[in-house]
């Protein structure tokens, strides 16, 4: 092969340029962002729940990145305002997700604040939405004859309740729900925050 050296240099230069523009420059841009005012760090329990969220594969069906209103009606669906980089300050790594088989969850704590509802839904989504295709996570719960002090008994419609005894949440389920309840980014985004402005044009709603 001829001109090995120039070819190799050119290929490396292109790679270096791409790394600069797609990795290094954004990292510099984002590193100086302070957390959005109003954003709280996770508690220990919420962090354990976050680990469950990753381990159970929730991210394969749920995104955490609401879009601006000129891209999709996410705000009207109750999914919240378009997220900005500083909303993810305490997420390492972020759980943006790529699929929306189910609804975006970035503000699920604001639109569904009930712990009891989430426990029922995780135990059996079809107890609430007959048409749901979300998997059930029964192994995050256990059946007991009687609830002991401190147990969280979950509420089930008569046709889903066990014949005998009660269903109580294991710690994993409680952690996961604590994490879901913490997903509330309804505070306003700073005007100068790093975000995707799409093809914003004057006079269009955002």
């Amino acid at each position: 092969m001829n001109r090995m050296v120039p070819l190799a240099i050119l290929a490396l230069a292109i790679l270096a340029f791409a790394t600069l523009m797609l990795v290094i420059a954004p990292a510099i841009q984002i590193r100086s962002e302070a957390p959005t005012p109003g954003l709280k760090p996770y508690t220990a329990q919420q962090l354990r729940g976050r680990t469950q969220y990753v381990a159970q594969g929730c991210i394969y069906c749920h995104s955490q990145q609401p879009r601006s209103i000129d891209q999709a009606p996410d705000a009207e669906r109750g999914w919240g305002r378009a997220s900005v980089a500083s909303d993810y300050a305490y997420d390492r790594p972020h759980l943006l997700g790529t699929m929306r088989t189910g609804p975006d969850l970035f503000n699920v704590g604001a639109r569904l604040p009930s712990r009891g509802w989430h426990l029922t839904h995780l135990y059996q989504p079809r107890a609430i939405f007959g048409w749901s295709i979300m998997p059930a996570y029964p192994y995050l719960f256990e059946r007991k004859e009687h609830a002991e002090p401190g147990d969280v008994v979950i509420i089930l419609p008569a046709d889903r309740a066990p014949k005998k005894g009660v269903i109580v949440a294991k710690r994993e389920a409680l952690d996961l729900v604590a994490y879901l309840q913490s997903l509330d980014h309804t505070f306003p985004a700073p005007t100068r925050a790093v975000r995707d402005d799409g093809y914003a044009e004057k006079g269009e709603p955002r």
Partner: protein, 396 residues
């Protein structure tokens, strides 16, 4: 035998290829610049929107028209027997703090203005007007209707606001005269009959649930304020709430979660819960969040749009959209996500329960932008001054 490796002789790149490459590069630079413009536009609009939300753009006269005139009338004459006049009112002639405290707390109970006694509810504007708005509004109404021009500062409002949350509404003119300004003259006393007792059964249902379903408060909040897609219930008419719960059971109104909840309630529970929420008074926690045009929203709510056959919303939902019991719900201080979702639900048919199908046609005539405008504007209105009274320690 060694094979001969072919090679090309050096030839310059053909001109068309060069031109295409340069054109592509220019296009890239142009797109970058254009995208940069989008960022600037986006930022500018967001700061405008924030300014809008703080209503910094409205001067005192505009604030009066949009916030007060539906009740007190554009010329401040009030409505005989229902709403006191502002024109020549002693409450405006008194020190500016009186008007400020009235705006921050609202008034319940009897109050004497001129020669007439009124017994209505003046809403609290604390959760929807900024300190600067209140200064401009007070300056405007006192200057226009009482010819008084001494000034209030934003600092005064900020200090008073800290106390306003704890105090609740003024209990009639007598308390205002006693606490703020003795020059208001004799005022009628507060009758104790307005003290509503809390129904302990309803309270238990709401805060702890009935064992078969989740507690209402776990979603709708301890004070019935709701959030995002969960509606505010505080201050809705009792009969309206009971009707909605019934409609979830029959399926005239569809929502999987609320249908499950409602099926566990007995009809008398529904009425109890309706009574319980209808007298609940809570500050607004709603915020315009759909990027709707608030000016357009205000026009639609107050005047409608006859070119499109849209009646004004206040013609049915009452002044300031505080609702008209028993059938017309309050819309003010409702979360815009929820309001927009309902307007969509009437079009799609998941909600088909309004009396005489009144809302179906109205919702169908609102386009996307108008729906967002209306929903956002309604979120900026003050909450219903429900007949609740403060310091309710009776019951539990």
């Amino acid at each position: 035998m060694e094979s001969f490796e072919p090679y090309e002789e050096f030839k310059p790149i053909p001109l068309p290829v060069l031109i295409i490459a340069v054109a592509l590069a220019l296009w890239g630079v142009f797109t970058l610049l254009d995208n940069g413009k989008a960022v600037t536009v986006g930022r500018a609009e967001r700061s405008d929107q924030i300014a809008d939300q703080h209503a910094n753009r409205q001067n005192g006269a505009e604030l009066f028209v949009s916030r007060c005139a539906t009740c007190h009338q554009p010329n401040g004459s009030g409505v005989e027997g229902a709403i006191p006049p502002l024109a020549s009112s002693p409450f405006l002639k008194a020190s500016p703090e009186v008007a400020m405290h009235i705006l921050l707390n609202g008034i319940d109970g009897p109050i004497r203005v001129g020669d007439a006694t009124f017994e209505g509810h003046m809403p609290s504007f604390a959760s929807v007007l900024s300190d600067a708005d209140i200064v401009r509004l007070v300056t405007h109404v006192r200057g226009t209707f009482a010819d008084r021009h001494d000034l209030l500062t934003e600092g005064d409002v900020a200090t008073a606001r800290l106390l306003a949350g704890r105090r609740g509404a003024w209990q009639g003119g007598q308390e205002i005269a006693a606490r703020l300004d003795a020059s208001l003259g004799p005022q009628p006393p507060m009758s104790s009959a307005t003290q509503a007792a809390i129904d302990p059964i309803a309270q238990k249902l709401v805060s702890q649930g009935n064992g078969q379903t989740w507690a209402c408060a776990s979603c709708h909040g301890m004070r019935g304020q709701g959030s995002a897609s969960v509606p505010r219930l505080a201050g809705l008419p009792a009969a309206y709430i009971a009707k909605q719960l019934g409609d979830y059971v029959t399926g005239k109104r569809r929502n999987e979660t609320m249908q499950l909840v409602a099926r566990t309630l007995k009809p008398q529970d529904m009425r109890r819960i309706g009574d319980y929420y209808s007298v609940m008074r809570a500050p607004s926690n709603a915020r315009a969040s759909l990027g709707g045009d608030l000016v357009r929203g205000e026009r639609l709510v107050l005047d409608g749009d006859w070119a499109r056959g849209l009646p004004s919303c206040v013609s049915c939902h009452g002044p300031s959209t505080f609702g008209v019991a028993p059938s017309f719900p309050a819309l003010s201080a409702q979360h815009p996500e929820y309001t927009a979702a309902q307007l969509t639900a009437w079009v799609s048919g998941t909600r088909d329960n309004s009396t005489g199908r009144l809302m179906n046609g109205i919702a169908a005539r609102l386009n996307d932008a108008d729906r967002r405008a209306v929903a956002d504007y309604l979120a900026t209105l003050p909450p219903v001054p429900a007949p609740a009274t403060r310091g309710r320690t009776n019951g539990k």
